[in-house]
């Protein structure tokens, strides 16, 4: 992917993901995006999308309940924020395999949960999944034009 425009800045982290570490990282991403000219509304959409996807990785990819090694890249340039999330494990495309919730259901019929991936799709401009060797890679793009 050669979309590195002049002036692009990147935050790259390899970390052992559990909910506490993720909570801190999400705040770091928000601050990083904000410090690089991304408006707060967009910065929070991006950090929320990262939060939802890595939360799912923690919930479903941890075999023993322990932290899951996750690779995260956040690239900011004036036109867009691009996010790459990678982890090893069983192939899982969240954008195909996660059920799409019916957000029009009345209160008594709404299932508890299942909104994470739906929020990601709604808040990002583009969402893609790739299987690379034994790794799952998700690429999110948020354009900053509205």
């Amino acid at each position: 992917m050669a979309s590195k425009a002049a002036g692009a800045v990147s935050l790259i982290r390899d970390f052992a993901a559990d909910v506490q570490a993720l909570s801190r990282l999400v705040e770091e991403v928000e601050a990083f995006a904000g410090a690089n000219g991304v408006e707060p509304g967009f910065a929070q959409r991006v950090s929320l999308a990262i939060d939802e996807l890595i939360t799912n990785i923690i919930l479903y990819a941890s075999r023993d309940g322990g932290p899951v090694p996750v690779h995260l890249e956040v690239h900011c340039d004036p036109a867009e924020v691009r996010v790459v999330i990678e982890h090893s494990g069983a192939a899982f495309d969240p954008f195909v395999e996660a059920p799409v919730p019916d957000t029009s259901l009345p209160l008594t019929e709404r299932p508890i949960g299942g909104l994470g991936v739906f929020l990601v799709r709604s808040l990002m401009s583009d969402t893609r999944y790739e299987r690379v060797g034994d790794r799952n890679r998700v690429i999110l793009t948020r354009t900053l034009d509205g």
Binding site: V19, R45, D51, T108, I112, G113, G116
Partner: protein, 112 residues
């Protein structure tokens, strides 16, 4: 994440502040259960100090909406910051709980 309730009989206004994510959703759930445990059926959540809400927080919110509605009352939100309002709209929560500018309007909607 912090929840500061003010009680008035079976009604309460709770000021919710900070960040609600996977790490703090259980504390949020415990705090709302403590409020509902005092016999509150009409609950207003003043979200003007809320900085972040993920789907983990929406789960907790849905449970509280169900409990208050089943008890004959309801749950309403006030002062929701724009970026959190977008999350509520996208997820369809604006159809499950009414959202108002002020906690006074929210309280009035539940006392009808």
């Amino acid at each position: 994440m912090n929840v500061e309730p003010t009680y008035s009989g079976a009604a309460a206004v709770a000021r919710v502040s900070g960040r609600i994510d996977s790490a703090s959703a259980k504390d949020f759930n415990d705090a709302l259960n403590a409020v509902l445990g005092k016999g509150v059926t009409a609950l207003v959540l003043d979200c003007s100090g809320l900085r972040y809400l993920s789907s983990a927080g929406l789960r907790v919110l849905l449970i509280a909406i169900r409990k208050t509605t089943a008890a004959g009352g309801g749950l309403a939100l006030s002062g929701v910051p724009p970026h959190i309002r977008e999350v509520l709209e996208v997820s369809g929560f604006v159809r499950l709980a009414k959202v108002f500018e002020t906690s006074e309007e929210a309280q009035a909607s539940l006392s009808g």
